[in-house]
């Protein structure tokens, strides 16, 4: 949670800097963004690969755990179609790419900006930040009405880290493994799905 706030603070700092201090965009070479993105992808890989927790879960759990991230993917796609009725000027393809951030706003926004430009990138940033915030705020309500998988589904990719404490608190420790597994699968899938959709 603290880290999310720092991340958002850096983003806002950038926006305000550009608005009020007139930091020219050209001051930062476009290559800096590109190479930072390359570095980030490699580092995220390291953090996923070194997470022994995830490997252990994969080794000794029931196959039906796979249904959780799968249902979140299907549900997210249906949700994108639903929201496309209310959003007129953005193509379903672009909306799908944004939705497939699954709340993982850093990766999805940076990645989508690189491929499709800033307008779609900022939409990816905001909608995925909202997904995380709504999950953090409404986890207890969701559990009450839609069962123990609901906050895990709502959290999407964030259920392995940012929203995990809230989920464990309101759903119980026995679902923490499912939460971490589902979040990890979705986290790994974010760049693949976005690349596939926007190619």
């Amino acid at each position: 949670m603290k880290n999310s706030l720092i991340i958002i603070a850096f983003f806002i700092l950038g926006v305000l800097g550009a608005l009020f201090l007139r930091i020219p965009k050209s001051m930062f070479n476009a290559n800096l963004t590109l190479y930072s993105l390359y570095l980030l992808m490699f580092l995220i890989g390291i953090s996923i690969g070194s997470d022994t927790k995830v490997w252990k879960i994969i080794k000794n759990t029931n196959i039906k755990i796979v249904l959780v991230p799968l249902s979140i993917i299907v549900g997210t796609l249906l949700g994108v179609i639903l929201s496309s009725f209310f959003i007129k000027n953005i193509s379903l393809k672009d909306l799908t790419a944004v939705g497939c951030g699954f709340g993982y706003y850093t990766m999805s926004s940076i990645f989508i900006t690189k491929v499709s430009g800033e307008a779609l990138g900022v939409l990816a940033l905001l909608s995925n930040v909202f997904r995380e915030i709504i999950t953090l705020l409404f986890a207890p309500v969701l559990v009450k009405y839609f069962g123990k998988l609901a906050p895990i589904a709502s959290g999407g990719a964030t259920s392995m880290d940012v929203t995990l404490p809230v989920i464990t608190k309101f759903v119980g420790k026995d679902y923490a493994i499912i939460s971490v597994f589902s979040g990890a699968v979705l986290t790994i899938l974010v760049p693949f799905l976005i690349a596939f959709i926007l190619k």
Binding site: G14, M41, D51, I72, L123
Partner: protein, 94 residues
């Protein structure tokens, strides 16, 4: 685009091989945080200097909320079906 996927997979492999070297992993995590800060700062600057986006931020925000709510509702409903079919019963029987 391909290079990004390759780098991610290379990272996963390196991370798996280095998983016992705690200091390297902690260093990688710190570096990850700072790379994310830098990228979001750069994204902020790019967006702040893009007049079209700034003038339209209200609309973008509303669309973002619609997408967030849509994807959350969709995910919850489908996972609720999975929960009722496969998880609830199994847990109760225990």
């Amino acid at each position: 685009m391909l290079i990004i996927i390759v780098l991610l997979l290379a990272g996963i492999l390196c991370g798996f091989l280095l998983r016992k070297k705690k200091r390297v992993i902690i260093l990688a995590d710190k570096l990850t945080n700072w790379t994310i800060y830098l990228l979001l700062l750069l994204l902020g600057i790019a967006i702040g200097s893009n007049k079209k986006i700034i003038n339209n931020i209200g609309n973008i925000g509303i669309n973002a909320i619609i997408i967030a709510l849509g994807t959350i509702i969709g995910s919850i409903l489908v996972s609720y079906i999975v929960y009722l079919l496969y998880f609830k019963k199994a847990k109760d029987e225990k």
